[in-house]
Symmetry: C2
Subunit: 241 residues, 2 copies
DNA sequence: GGCGGACTTTGCGCTGGCGCAAACTGCCTG
DNA sequence: CAGGCAGTTTGCGCCAGCGCAAAGTCCGCC
């Protein structure tokens, strides 16, 4: 395990990085070594674009640490956040969707580290590595499900319910236990939440203030802790059986 | 080419049915024959469910004729139309998304004919038939793109713009030239349009009435003709370069 | 330590579009 | 051809949530 092979960007990557990531979990150590040897690793500051909507999809990525926000920008310049990606998932996998440009912009929501490979290796990975394709399409399926849910929510729910749902989804996917409750694990502003729910930062601010008075959440600058998820579920309008 | 093999449902299917459908277009006649021999063919009346959300995904389908509406139902019973599928596309391809249940309900928007295969053949098709996987994922990619656009629209646009966009999308995908303009090729009610755009049938009705007075559209019972797509584009808020 | 910018809060007035209700119209069925 | 139903139109009143505005708060940087 000594580091005698020169690496472009970082010391030789350790196999354990990938062994527990679903797309690679069924592979042998030797295969993971091959995969890592072809990867580039890079650190990104919070709030920078990893790639831009419409750009040629030259690489695909695996997020090792941090969070990615997938963003689309409208013709009039407004932003909409399509979804958040937690560590351990592939992203920028345009090829899996039969595209050769990225369909949206990927921005880091917090400081992040990602591996990437040239897109030409995609077909090879799919062919050679057992379970890679299957797991990838599971990810795609989940994201489709999530987008679908967003559409249904936007079409049928009130703003208050949508914001509650967005918070619940965030703590489910990216929540971290803290003494007061569950905290969203990356910096998130009122503006961000409004872009997730299709409303304005003013309305989000009012809702959060209200909930804070009732002890449902605690929030500070770029920081939100959900204290009483159960009551939030009630607000979100989920049906109880 | 004589019909001497007994078929369960219909006379022996002709190869020409599939030769021009993208997922199969790169295949040899012999392969298409194999595929057809494993298919069941069935006709559906308008408005019936081909499969239901959450049901085990036992078969996948190719729509030969007609239109499919992909629908989700909320806990409170409201319907939301996720997208429309025109003839020539695969649907019910849960397996391509790593799922074993259907993620939404498929309802025929008009009288339709579809082939179907047991889902266990999916992996075989992907493995054996060149281009099948690629074309399938292109379809998935397109649908993701469409859903994404819907989310962005719902988040940023006014009802009037959303309805205009929905109409434009419909005539693009499923439009048919008629003397007065372009008609949506299947029966569609105000209610349907409202479920597509996340509003109420009342509002849709008012908008269509208004547009009809201005000569933008002509509409009757379950029938909509767009006469002046260009002005509709302006209403939809698309940016002109 | 103080300045500036980023983020947040709050008030106020207005309006788009929803809810409700009632009437109308064309199509299908018996 | 007479209902009756499914789909559509239209009017009216109301309110959730947006736009605008202004002030307050926190953080990082010089």
């Amino acid at each position: 395990m000594t580091d005698n092979a020169p690496r472009k960007t970082l010391p030789r990557l350790d196999e354990s990085l990938l062994t527990h990531m679903p797309p690679f979990s069924r592979l042998e150590r030797r295969q993971i070594r091959e995969i890592l040897d072809q990867a580039s690793s890079r650190r990104y500051d919070a709030g920078v674009a990893v790639f831009d909507e419409g750009a040629p999809a030259e690489r695909f990525f695996m997020l090792l640490d941090g969070y990615i926000r997938v963003v689309r920008v409208t013709a009039t310049g407004e932003q909409v956040i399509a979804l958040h990606i937690p560590a351990g998932q592939l992203f920028g996998i345009a090829r899996a969707l039969g595209r050769d440009t990225y369909p949206a912009t990927a921005v880091t929501a917090a400081e992040s580290i990602a591996l990437s490979w040239p897109m030409r290796l995609w077909d090879e990975f799919v062919r050679q590595y057992d379970g890679f394709a299957t797991e990838t399409y599971k990810t795609v399926g989940q994201r489709i499900g999530e987008m679908n849910t967003r559409i249904v929510e936007m079409a049928t729910q009130q703003v208050e319910q949508r914001v509650a749902n967005a918070l619940l989804r965030l703590i489910n996917q990216t929540g971290r236990k803290v003494p007061e409750g569950i905290e969203i694990d990356f910096p998130i502003t009122r503006q961000d939440l409004s872009e997730l729910t299709g409303t304005t930062l003013h309305t989000v601010s009012r809702l959060l203030s209200g909930w804070e008075k009732q002890g449902l959440v605690k929030s500070g600058r770029k920081r939100i802790v959900v204290c009483d998820a159960h009551r939030l579920v009630v607000i979100s309008g989920a049906q109880l059986p």
